[in-house]
């Protein structure tokens, strides 16, 4: 039974990805491109050389952060759709510290990351307090706060920290930039992301607090009856998930983008939600999913150059994967489906005899 459901949890996303690719190929064919050439160039673009692998991993870094943000919150039963806002608040505070504090080098980097983490956590806490003390719908609140954060970032790069005629902030000083690894695009931000993922994995599955947090997420009433501080865990999950996103925003600023500009971090919040759901809220699986989607995006640029298929086909594939995965996971839980599997098993058994 347990093994069956584990197998299903693994198979459903894999089949969903295959299905999404098949549909993606049909779309490409309709658009007049050769799907095989397209897929080939997609692969080469993402993993064809060490350089490309580095780019893919660099691209995956912010996605890992926002997907871990979503993943952690959902583990506690909190639907945090505000990863993007928390990511942006982190990067805004980080940008201030990097460009205005006058400190440079490692202390500045640490301060930047810390400030960004705190900002993300604080931004999420707003929604957390409203949920816990006003019993409010956290989804609507976090979405609204995303827009507020995006607009606030707009104020920052068009006004408060604007640098010159172009609406963008000044670049962070070179000394504050996160170091690149092996001369590739990938930076130490990726290492931080993986470390955060491992830490969350350990916390959720190897500590008593993580165990209790998961219990709260699965059945709040029972958790309360069993003496867990439900409200505290919910607030904690908001803060930690926001902090992860905030850290991601800072790392993205110091590692890849270096300045705030229109479109910074756009869409990462929802992407994170999608990846966490496909990864079924398992932190390590979520990381793999994030890398997979980053590869899809990086590869799609090469694909566009080779075949003319627009890069946004990768968004379609990603969207299809989530549509299929969520439906598929629901389907395998249906009693009818279980009965169907049971009948199939009976049949094969009888045939074997």
């Amino acid at each position: 039974m347990k093994n069956n459901s584990k197998l299903a949890n693994f198979l459903v996303p894999v089949i969903s990805i295959l299905l999404a690719f098949v549909i993606g190929c049909v779309i490409m064919a309709v658009l007049g491109a050769n799907p095989f050439v397209a897929l080939q160039s997609l692969w080469i673009g993402a993993f064809g050389s060490l350089r490309n692998v580095g780019t893919t991993l660099a691209r995956s870094t912010p996605l890992i952060f926002t997907s871990l943000c979503a993943c952690f919150a959902y583990r506690c039963g909190v639907f945090n759709l505000g990863g993007e806002g928390q990511f942006l608040m982190g990067s805004i505070v980080c940008c201030y510290i990097a460009t205005k504090s006058g400190i440079e080098g490692l202390p500045a980097i640490l301060l930047c990351l810390l400030g960004g983490t705190a900002a993300g956590g604080a931004w999420a806490l707003v929604a957390g307090l409203l949920k816990v003390y006003r019993n409010q719908n956290e989804m609507i609140i976090t979405i609204m706060l995303n827009y507020v954060a995006t607009l606030l970032m707009g104020v920052v790069y068009t006004n408060w920290l604007r640098d010159g005629s172009v609406p963008q902030t000044a670049s962070v000083p070179d000394a504050d930039k996160l170091s690149r690894l092996f001369g590739l695009r990938i930076t130490s931000a990726f290492v931080i992301a993986i470390a955060v993922g491992l830490l969350i994995y350990y916390f959720l599955f190897y500590t008593s607090k993580g165990f209790q947090l998961r219990a709260v997420g699965l059945n709040m009433t029972a958790a309360e009856f069993n003496g867990f501080a439900v409200k505290r865990y919910i607030l904690l999950s908001f803060i930690v998930s926001g902090a992860i996103a905030g850290l991601g925003g800072s790392a993205e600023l110091l590692g890849t983008q270096f300045r705030l500009i229109n479109g910074f971090g756009a869409g990462y919040g929802f992407d994170g939600v999608a990846m966490a759901l496909i990864g079924q809220l398992h932190p390590l699986a979520t990381i793999l999913v994030a890398i997979f989607f980053a590869a899809l995006r990086v590869g799609s640029t090469t694909m566009q150059a080779a075949t003319g298929v627009p890069t946004s086909v990768s968004d379609i594939i990603q969207a299809l994967v989530i549509v299929f995965t969520v439906a598929g996971l629901a389907m395998v839980k249906l009693p009818q489906f279980k009965a169907f599997l049971g009948r199939m098993a009976d049949k094969t058994q009888k045939e074997a005899v």
Binding site: Y206, S208, A215, T221, A222, F225, N226
Partner: protein
């Protein structure tokens, strides 16, 4: 008498399991026909076949001599079969009137003609002596009134056969009298009634004929005049009834918990406490008897720290409780078997293992570094030990508890709640929905805990259960305590009156 409904050789199979096998049953016009049987005897399945929720695997149903197919609830309604479910099918957000006309197909037009419909309904209500207030919302009326709404609902749809599923379960004695009067009126008018119950007293009073089901099959059908309670009970269980076989304690130890004039939402008759004073001592089982929904849930939640009383004092082992939190009560060694095991007791999506250690992962036995590292092996070994000790039947301790049977779910909770030698055990409806074997196991376990010095507060709507294990019996009615009785040779008549508020 004419026959209204006949079932011939009806079977309902789920996979390899026969829930009903070769059922032959005939219901006459104008009779009260009782279906008697234990939990799991196949009563519900049979009724679900009659109201079109299930399709019979084999067999034929005849209505007025004609073979019919009942393939949906709508079809059952058209054929004149109406059911009053044990858990009422009433939409709480709507008024009595709206509930009655819901799903109506008899009248023409798009809009609701309130005046005309109300007139019809009131006429119908008068004819059968069903007293209802049409404009009240469902939440505003008492359980007995809700039941009348359900009956009226069925009659409004032209029901000729009414199925009443354990209709007296949630009623006071007076309300039961009212119900019986209505049932008589209905049969006088030629309606047929299928009465499902296992309360022998009521069955003997109201039935014209009685059909006994056991293990999915019809044992026999008897005329009321030709049988008695002893015969019915023996037929139902398939063996002789045994009297209570637990010894009763008369001198409990020092008080574990003491409530003094505790109020909680005291104006709410069905979900509040009004001046409740109560003591549970070490080594005794105090049984709270009463019809469901007279404040028992609130009492349980106050003595486990889930609810904070509005007034009054609670002493725990001699010292006053200052703050009511479940965590604080757990630290005081209070264990809780909550009324709804799936909602309040278990994390259904977690494994048997995880649910067994749910409360104790912070203890050094199961984690090191102040909870920052779980000892997975210790947890596993412990869970395996508990699985054996409490005879939890599961495919493995990794199985999710939501996939277990009710009895095994309850055993998981027992393993968690009783293993730490609690000072107080609060058990709410601990055997609801369990089969005889599991019920016996739960009772044995409670007695064992009592004999080790644990104070037990048992709350149950099952009067037989209260009589079986309680050393003292406390009766609750509308949030108040109506009386305290000895568990040894309890005065059953007096207790019944107290439960009805007298």
């Amino acid at each position: 008498m004419d026959e209204f409904l006949r079932m011939e050789h009806v079977s309902k199979r789920f996979g390899d399991f026969y829930a009903n096998r070769d059922i032959n049953l005939s219901i006459r016009k104008g009779e009260v026909h009782t279906l008697l049987g234990e939990n799991g005897a196949g009563k519900s399945t049979l009724m679900n076949v009659l109201i079109g929720l299930y399709q019979p695997t084999e067999g034929t149903i005849y209505l007025n001599g004609q073979a019919v197919r009942i393939d949906s609830p709508a079809q059952a309604v058209r054929l004149g079969i109406g059911m009053v479910h044990q858990h009422f099918m009433l939409v709480e957000a709507m008024t009595v009137f709206e509930n009655i006309i819901l799903g109506d197909r008899n009248t023409k037009g798009i809009f609701i003609n309130k005046e005309a419909r109300k007139k019809e309904i009131l006429e119908l209500a008068e004819r059968y002596g069903l007293d209802v207030e049409l404009d009240k919302s469902i939440t505003e009326i008492a359980v007995g009134a809700q039941q009348r709404v359900e009956i009226l609902k069925a009659l409004y749809r032209g029901a000729e056969l009414l199925i009443l599923d354990e209709p007296s379960a949630a009623l006071t004695d007076i309300e039961v009298e009212g119900l019986f009067k209505i049932m008589r009126k209905l049969t006088e008018e030629g309606k047929s009634i299928i009465f499902i119950s296992h309360k022998m007293r009521e069955v003997l009073r109201i039935s014209d004929r009685i059909t006994i089901l056991r293990a999915g099959e019809v044992v026999t059908t008897l005329e009321r005049s030709q049988t008695d309670g002893q015969e019915l009970a023996n037929l139902m269980i398939g063996r002789e009834l045994a009297p209570s076989h637990y010894g009763k304690v008369e001198d409990p130890g020092s008080p574990v918990i003491q409530l003094r004039s505790v109020d909680y939402h005291k104006d709410s008759k069905h979900a509040g406490l009004n001046g409740v004073s109560l003591t549970v001592g070490r080594g005794e089982i105090v049984g709270i008897a009463g019809v469901d929904g007279n404040g028992q849930s609130q009492l349980a939640q106050v003595v486990t720290g889930v609810l904070t009383p509005d007034a009054g004092e609670v002493d725990m082992k001699g010292s006053k409780v200052a703050q009511f939190t479940p965590h604080g009560f757990i630290l005081e060694s209070v264990s809780h078997i909550p009324e709804d095991r799936n909602k309040m007791g278990l994390i259904g999506n977690m494994s048997v293992k995880d649910n067994i250690v749910l409360k104790s992962t912070d203890s050094p036995e199961f984690s090191s570094a102040r909870g920052y590292h779980l000892k997975k092996k210790a947890i596993r070994d412990y869970a395996l030990k508990m699985q054996e000790k409490y005879d939890i039947r599961c495919t493995s301790i990794e199985q999710e508890t939501r996939n277990l049977s009710g009895g095994n779910q309850q055993k998981v909770i027992l393993a968690r709640e009783l293993e730490g030698h609690p000072d107080l055990l609060v058990a709410v409806h601990p055997t609801r929905g369990l089969d005889i074997g599991a019920t016996r196991f739960v009772h044995d376990t409670m007695i064992e805990a009592r004999d080790k010095g644990c104070g037990v507060l048992l709350i149950s709507a099952d009067f037989d259960e209260i009589l079986e294990v309680s050393d003292r019996i406390v009766v609750m009615f509308e949030g108040q305590i109506m009386g305290v009785f000895s568990g040894k040779n309890p005065p059953i008549e007096e207790i019944s009156l107290a439960m009805a508020g007298k």
